[in-house]
């Protein structure tokens, strides 16, 4: 009704209707400078991830564009390694063609070799951020690795939040036998050492992006379950839910249409908290070889390569990955803090 009465200058409907929770949170978030900077960094990173996913950037990360271990440009080309460990013989070359049994075939082989075109790709002596052991551009790898690591973190957090929210809703809303059973499942999962759960699921699911998402999601839903359950217990006896029951709203409708929107901010904050922790877990899993498959690159696989390179003095891959990860994770954590403050001003 209010939509008909557009009062000039007051922004229409908002004049009559009270501000929605999400609009109020957005207003609070916009006032938070640190939060907005963090949000910008996160949004830009996600755009980069999207671009990498669509193949717009870093699609050629597997190309060996530089010389092996090419240093970053600002350091200048690396000193050529003194490969001449074995000194070449000093004396004159002896003509072996009389006794060489392969001599008659050389001409034929040269002919045959000419049929194949060898591509001489010029390799750069330096790259903006250096190259890895094979001469692949570290910057492209870090972007591609960001795509995998961030995607795994976000998807795993979504899986964990879904499991935690649905089970928490069921347990908190129904209570009784269902609640007891789910509490038992929760107890079992929390009593199991997390690392064993992750290893066990890793054995079950194998390697790759989707398996890692499932592993982390299945092993990490318990905290969300606990919080959502507490919220549902609190809300299920509130007046608005009882009124809904009185007018005949079904249980599913009360759970997911009435209560869920009122507790979704809890789930949202947990979701973003878990993104950070799952990104870190993915890095460790991939480092151990339990994560993404060998033909993919993630921050974890890069770190495991970087460890060996560091000993030889090639520090750039380690530095680039660390900076990429630190920037994204810091921004995401700060954004999460701002989000929590904005969604739940009471906590401040």
């Amino acid at each position: 009704m209010s939509s008909v009465m557009t009062a000039p200058g007051t922004g229409g409907a908002t004049a009559r209707k009270s501000e929605s929770v999400w609009a109020a949170s957005w207003r609070r978030l916009r006032a938070d400078k640190v939060g907005m900077v963090a949000l910008t960094v996160v949004a830009l990173s996600l755009l980069l991830v999207l671009a990498a996913g669509l193949g717009l950037v870093a699609s050629g990360w597997q190309k060996e564009t530089g010389v092996p271990n090419a240093p970053p440009t600002f350091m200048g080309p690396g000193t050529a390694e003194s490969a001449g460990a074995v000194e070449s013989a000093k004396g004159p070359n002896v003509d072996l063609s009389d006794i060489d049994p392969l001599a008659p075939k050389y001409a034929e082989w040269t002919e045959r070799a000419k049929q194949y075109k060898t591509d001489e790709t010029p390799r750069a002596q330096t790259l903006p951020f250096g190259a890895d052991r094979l001469g692949r551009d570290v910057l492209a790898k870090a972007i591609k690795g960001a795509e995998i690591s961030i995607m795994v973190g976000v998807l795993a957090a979504v899986v964990a939040t879904l499991i935690g929210t649905v089970l928490g809703a069921l347990s908190g809303f129904y209570g009784g036998k269902v609640g007891d059973f789910l509490e038992w499942v929760y107890n079992v999962f929390t009593a199991m050492p997390n690392i064993l759960l992750i290893f066990a699921f890793a054995v079950v699911f194998g390697r790759g992006v989707l398996p890692v998402v499932m592993i982390l999601g299945l092993a990490g839903w318990t905290g969300i379950y606990r919080l959502v359950r507490a919220e549902f217990i609190k809300h299920s006896v509130r007046e608005y839910v009882r009124s809904a029951e009185a007018i005949g709203a079904s249980k599913a409708s009360r759970m997911f249409k009435h209560i869920l929107p009122n507790v979704s901010h809890v789930a949202l904050v947990q979701l973003s908290l878990h993104v950070v922790s799952f990104i870190k877990s993915e890095v460790i899993l991939s480092y151990l070889g339990l994560g993404v498959s060998v033909d993919q690159v993630s921050w974890g696989t890069m770190l495991s390569e970087a460890q060996n390179e560091l000993i030889l003095g090639y520090w750039w891959q380690l530095a680039v990955v660390t900076v990429f990860m630190a920037v994204f994770v810091t921004a995401f954590s700060l954004f999460t803090d701002a989000l929590r403050d904005a969604l739940d001003p009471k906590l401040r």
Binding site: W184, V185, N187, V188, F189, T190, A191, M192, P193, N194, I195, L196, F199, A200, F201, A202, V203, V204, V276, K280, V283, I284, Y287, L288, W299, G300, L303, A306, Q307, L310, I311, L318, V321, T322, M325, A326, F328, V329, T330, S333, L334
Partner: protein, 312 residues
């Protein structure tokens, strides 16, 4: 009190049973076939069949489960399928190494951040506080792996202050030579998140009415923080420590792999890769039991710290 203890201990039984069932079916249905893992690539079908028979893998699933349950009740953990070492012996020989690293880590992790966080809470709102908060945020977002790699490289490889990795048979040599670097890494990594967390605990307490009362009656800020706030903040700190206590094995596992420490964590990774069921099962139950006992002890400690807490 006795009734409370008995009830709490009794409640552990269904949870432990759940852990056993979860581990059993996870590895039974989805894990690799232990016989094939043990037989190797060149084993013939007959040999694999023989291994299955020897391990009792061809019995019905229910019977296998029953055997495992019987083993748990009688504390007979059996032998590792891969090495034929008895699981009890395996634990007894690997646990000391894990503890040699974990006990110092735990002590330092608990003791160091408390004064640090108290200081930051005292300086709340000032530039130092904000700088520490920003620094810790960044420090937390760097992967644990980077810390291990860089610390190992700088302090062991470049500066030569510690051995890069290794372990010996003597407890003293281990404590003074091999353990310091892993302990250093773990504590350095843990300092940031713990300082942040404890700071919020202290700030929560500082916001309470009793602090205002204490100020009103003229106590110095120092007395208030050290006597009133610290004691009240011990409850969330204790909870936090108890949560971290069993999960320290995750950290220890990574450290053990990095620093070649022959501890339990490394053993469990091997066992998972070999589908060595008796070891996995024993480990799961052992950690689950530790977790639950730690939770119980924490609840008892609440009572000690805060006499108002009623155990029910």
């Amino acid at each position: 009190m006795a009734a409370y203890l008995i009830r709490r201990l009794w409640q552990m039984v269904p949870t432990l049973l759940g852990v056993v069932l979860l581990v059993f079916f996870l590895f039974k249905w989805f894990g690799g076939d232990p016989a094939e893992v043990l037989g190797g690539l060149n084993a013939s079908a007959d040999q694999i069949q023989a291994i299955r028979e020897q391990l009792g893998l061809n019995k019905p699933v229910a019977e296998q489960l029953l055997i495992f349950l019987k083993q748990i009740v009688t504390f007979d953990w059996g032998k590792s399928w891969a090495t034929n070492e008895s699981v009890a012996h395996l634990f007894a020989t690997r646990l000391p190494a894990t503890l040699t690293v974990m006990v110092p880590i735990l002590l330092l992790e608990v003791l160091l951040p408390v004064p640090f966080a108290l200081l930051v809470a005292y300086l709340r709102g000032r530039a130092v506080d904000r700088a520490v908060m920003m620094g810790t945020t960044i420090a937390v977002s760097i992967s644990l792996l980077v810390y291990v790699i860089v610390f190992q490289y700088v302090f062991a490889f470049q500066l030569g202050w510690f051995p890069v990795q290794g372990w010996s048979d003597s407890l003293w040599t281990n404590l003074t030579t091999y353990a310091p670097l892993p302990v250093f890494v773990a504590v350095a990594v843990a300092l940031s998140p713990y300082t942040r967390l404890y700071r919020t605990f202290f700030l929560d307490e500082i916001g309470h009415e009793y602090v205002r009362t204490a100020r009103a009656k003229g106590l110095t800020e120092r007395t208030i923080l050290l006597k009133h706030v610290l004691r009240n903040a011990m409850i969330p700190i204790l909870t936090n420590i108890s949560v971290a206590l069993p999960s320290l094995f995750v950290g220890s596992f990574l450290l053990e792999v990095f620093f070649s420490i022959p501890g339990l964590g490394r053993e469990i990774l091997l066992a998972v890769n070999r589908s060595d069921y008796p070891v996995i099962q024993a480990f799961a139950i052992y950690i689950a039991a530790i977790t639950m006992v730690v939770n119980l002890v924490t609840d008892l400690l609440y009572k000690l710290v805060d006499p108002r807490v009623v155990l029910k």
